[in-house]
């Protein structure tokens, strides 16, 4: 099949519609092909670029697949111990209230070891944004069961499928923290289709803008795929996610306080 010839008429700077944001560093992201982490990173940095707040934003990376987020996000970043990003963010925001502060965390980080930090940062109503990528598995360490692993879903530490009787149900941490008065905006999004990405970007933009209102914490969950952990191709994983993750983790705004 012949390589398609680009039309020089169209490919000109003045005709540019979309390009990779400079707010991402030139580094190639280490994420597996088709992983939602890359998309989510990109959206956050596009929001920061559009708001023009790169000079006033401090991001906090977790331990997990996105532990190297600071290699990709071209802003000042801190590397938190596993599960502790909300604590770091609490201190940064209280010490520098005029800065935009966000944490970027996975499900193991936020809903297992970091549960207390998550709940208490939300309960204190810290004026920060938490971006929570939920792919139902521990990706970086090779696909172990996570707090959000679905019933009967296989992972390396539940090779016969998650057994509710012994390991409990997948944890709906987002619905949990939405109950806390300290959270002002809680939403669950995805990044597997253009429409979903646009919606997530709007949500993240809103979550950042909320920080100016000083009315509490904004929490954006992004349900995402884990191709290596789920042992599927990216497109299969996205379809599986729609069939299996979305029914248990329904998308949409859960709480919106103006």
């Amino acid at each position: 099949m012949a390589e398609f010839k680009t039309n020089p008429e169209i490919v000109k700077p003045e005709n540019l519609v979309y390009k990779r944001t400079e707010m991402l560093t030139p580094a190639t992201m280490h994420y597996c092909p088709g992983c939602g982490h890359g998309t989510t990173h990109r959206i956050i940095m596009e929001v920061i670029e559009e708001m023009g707040v790169a000079a006033d934003t401090v991001g906090i990376a977790p331990v997990g697949c996105s532990v190297l987020a600071y290699d990709y996000m071209n802003i000042d970043m801190q590397e938190a111990a596993h599960g502790r990003a909300p604590a770091l963010a609490t201190a940064v925001k209280r010490l520098m209230p005029e800065k935009f502060v966000f944490t970027y965390q996975g499900d193991g980080d936020l809903a297992a070891i970091g549960t207390a930090e998550t709940i208490h940062a939300c309960n204190r109503g810290e004026n920060i944004t938490i971006i929570f990528v939920n792919n139902g598995i521990y990706g970086m360490t090779g696909g172990q069961m996570a707090p959000t692993t679905l019933e009967n879903m296989k992972a390396s530490t539940c090779p016969y499928g998650r057994d509710i009787a012994t390991m409990g149900s997948p944890l709906k941490i987002t619905e949990l923290i939405a109950q806390l008065p300290g959270t002002m905006y809680v939403t669950r999004q995805a990044v597997h289709t253009p429409a979903a990405v646009r919606s997530t970007k709007k949500a993240i933009r809103k979550a950042f803008e909320n920080q100016k209102l000083k009315k509490g914490l904004s929490f954006v969950e992004v349900v995402s795929n884990c191709n290596s952990g789920w042992k599927m191709t990216p497109r299969q994983a996205n379809e599986w996610m729609v069939q299996n993750m979305f029914p248990y983790f329904p998308l949409g705004d859960i709480k919106v306080n103006e």
């Binding site: 790169a54 000079a55 590397e79 502790r84 604590a87 770091l88 963010a89 010490l95 800065k99």
Partner: protein
Amino acid sequence: MKELRLMKGNEAFAEAAIRAGADGYFGYPITPQSEVMEYLMAQKTEERTGMVTLQAESEIAAINMVYGGACCGKRVLTSSSSPGISLKQEGISYIAGAELPCVILNCVRGGPGLGTIQPSQSDYFQSTKGGGHGDYRLIVLAPASVQEMADFASLGFDLAFKYRNPVLILADGAIGQVMEKVELQPQQPRLTMDEIKKNTPWATVGRANGRERNFVTSLDLDSLRMEKHNHDLQAKYRQIEENEMRYEALQCDDADYIFVAYGTSSRLCQKAIQLAREEGIKVGLLRPITLFPFPKKPLEDLSKRVKGMLVVELSMGQMIEDVRLSVHDKIKVEHFGRAGGMIPSPHDIVDALKKQIIGG
């Protein structure tokens, strides 16, 4: 103009931290040091100097708040007691690995486990040999009075920023709870953003006017680079050993025997010296003020002209290992101490000197 007050050790430490221009305190209640946070809250530090005082949901959260604040080049501190300090060890290792400045107070209580709430010195190993993972050292200051609790708050910040290293203040329940006269420094202004950008250009305060992004991490998956980082850390610790070793020698010049003791134990030894000398036993005290860097040389020098050393610790004997290492077994070195929160009397110490060193 310095101010004279009568205060509890924990409160003097808190007040001195405010006056040293602290930006943030993150703590959690645990006996015998809860007064630090209680005092700071009562002082409404946010109004007084703009200093943030926050009670976290756990000691783990608190030390990670310290980490976050330290990444921003701010003067941040926390305080806790033994079990709480154990919870903080991972965070402290991260802070040491990422080379961040901060001050941590440990009001040691009897252990192990939930232990007791009475004073102890059984966290020596944890404090000086690194309680967390990896090759790292804390600068460890051991106050023996309420005055030193106050002085070491500001000294702690100075050393922490000078070396970009966590500083541990190793007190005990007695030092924290006892009330004594204390001279307080005048209020020092908190750091401005410009000072932070100048003094700590690595701080994550927002990537202004096009500078390269700053990121603070203790992670490096490249082993060769990680090894180099370890060598750099060790070089720093050698520098700290060279420049920051502090100790006090009392009546050692004519001494035949030496007590080696820090904190509360050293106060008991001062009385024991008087009692022993009344019986004609010439004994002196070498009091380490920094436990890291440990006063090896002074001990080695003393070992050349004394017959024996009694290491007095409120524990089953931990610092004694460092004393023995310092004197290379040339003379008799024995441990005496009580544990579980028990405190020996000066008489007990004199008896121990006679039995274990002189009579032995």
